[in-house]
């Protein structure tokens, strides 16, 4: 199966010229990445330190507006992970353990939204959640409520929208881990007279731990940088860090302050990922060399 099987010694010598040139094929792409991705990020770093001075960071770390925003951002990210885990765990379990047609349907339901525009999905939530939206209209007509409930424009709306967008990441991480659990282990536990609930708690749940960790990590980190969903469904008076970055740069044209906020968010994201990568394989999360 391996493509990296070494050719015969003679062939290796004969084709050495061919082999050594392959690396060069990566150069144009690497150059594009450098010019349009690395240079902009580096320039952002420079601006954040020099426009007008590194004091940007002091302001961004000490001002109460920003501190509150970091707290809100972390809180929303934690809630999103919790909701994704609660919804994703049974879903992934069924997907990993049911017969082929059912697991294919569930796989479709999770991959379809994965590729669907986040903007459209968030916009669709406004149709459901706004004051004269579907849910409030329905409940008002049934007489269950007297006036519309605030379902969006607050942390609830943001969390619901973000959880729905990020749920596929959680489910896919969980399924990968759960498929590795040998069903015979549970059978063994049951045959020793252990009940189904305890078998789940003592055998299946601990073994699915790596999936929970990987899914939680990727959802948490992605949630930290989410912009569209909080901008559309969230509370404008309690902006997340991403919204403050956009406001700084786009509305106030404060490149230094916005840049500093951006660098802090970036460093936070990378540090959490690097710590997390000690425990899970990040390549697996992005789908590199995963099962096909």
């Amino acid at each position: 199966m391996s493509s990296q099987m070494a050719p015969s010694p003679g062939a290796a010598v004969r084709f050495r010229g061919v082999r050594s040139r392959w690396g060069a094929l990566a150069l144009p792409g690497a150059a594009a990445l450098a010019v349009f991705f690395v240079v902009p990020l580096a320039y952002m770093l420079v601006r954040s330190l020099s426009d007008p001075s590194p004091r940007n960071y002091v302001e961004v770390i000490t001002s109460s507006i920003y501190l509150k925003s970091y707290a809100t951002t972390l809180l929303v990210a934690v809630w999103t992970v919790v909701v994704c885990l609660v919804l994703g765990y049974p879903y992934a379990y069924v997907m990993a353990r049911s017969s082929r047609p059912i697991s294919m349907i569930l796989g479709f339901c999770v991959l379809m939204p994965f590729w669907m525009s986040i903007l459209v999905r968030t916009y669709a939530w406004t149709v459901w959640l706004q004051d004269n939206g579907l849910i409030n209209t329905f409940l008002l007509r049934l007489g269950l409520i007297r006036e519309p409930m605030a379902l969006m424009g607050n942390a609830l709306g943001t969390t619901v929208g973000m959880a729905q967008v990020l749920l596929p990441f959680m489910v896919l991480s969980l399924v990968t881990a759960m498929k590795r659990i040998d069903p015979a282990l549970e059978l063994a536990s049951r045959s020793l007279g252990v009940g189904p609930v305890r078998t789940f708690l003592r055998v299946f749940l601990p073994l699915s731990g790596p999936g929970v960790f990987a899914g939680g990590l990727i959802v948490f980190v992605t949630a930290l940088g989410f912009y569209l969903t909080p901008a559309i469904l969230g509370d404008p008076t309690k902006p997340l860090i991403s919204q403050l970055i956009v406001e700084r740069v786009n509305t106030l044209l404060d490149f230094g302050g916005g840049g500093a906020l951006g660098i802090i968010l970036l460093v936070l994201t990378l540090v959490i990922l690097l710590i997390g990568a000690r425990f899970v394989d990040l390549k697996e999360i992005v789908g590199l060399r995963g099962e096909s």
């Binding site: 084709f15 990445l33 339901c109 525009s117 459209v120 149709v127 912009y227 970036l266 992005v286």
Partner: protein, 263 residues
Amino acid sequence: MRRVNPAVGAAAALVAVFLVAPTLVVIPLSFTEYSVLNWPPHGFSLKWYDEVLTDPTWRSATMTSLKVGAGAALAATVLGTGIALGLSRGRFRGKNVATIAILSPMIVPVVITAVANYFVFVKWGLTGTAAGLIAAHTVLGLPFVVVSVSNSLSRFDRNQENAAYSLGASPLFAFFTVTLPQLLPGVLSGALFAFITSWDEAIISQFLSSPQVRTLPSLIFSQISSGVDPSVAAAASILLAVTAALLASASIIGAVSRRKRSS
């Protein structure tokens, strides 16, 4: 296989509904007759589609999105295939670091990429241009191509190339006649995903668009803040339909290549 507890199965079914159903509401909404949100939708009308397809603002946004998506997909596919080949076959130090660097556009929050691009693109005069949007979206689509082509490469047996060389084929000839045809499914699905990435992207677009050059998601985003108007629903439905069609093509490509492999 053990049977799944029915209660857990029901929970999974509800979550499946939560994943898929809320989004689909934009489709009936796009066919309503009145501009105010009403449920159930009253009447049936195509006028919002008519508006999106004929109104110059919507039309030009759609055209810009198609152009930018095609340009970014093409560039990302060519560059990304090169990267995948270089990473898997080249011999150089720091391959792991290089892999992470190349996948980093997937990891860095898009809002940060957008702001950073905006900073330098203002200086380079690339804001409000299709070229600027294409450049930024190319970088975003690159990792998808690299992952998809790398996965194809890991299934490709290098000895076939050596066989071609031993029969006198030049490296280029061998690559285009032996290797590339077998990588094609990976290359094509990478291209499709790169297009979808650009087609759906709203944040970078919001920063780099101008009133003259603006993508469909960017226009939808600014319209959402001005209230729920069914023409937004029509535009959103078009966005979904195009993505769905491309996803279907990608899965057909996948299915065909799997069948070829197994036969």
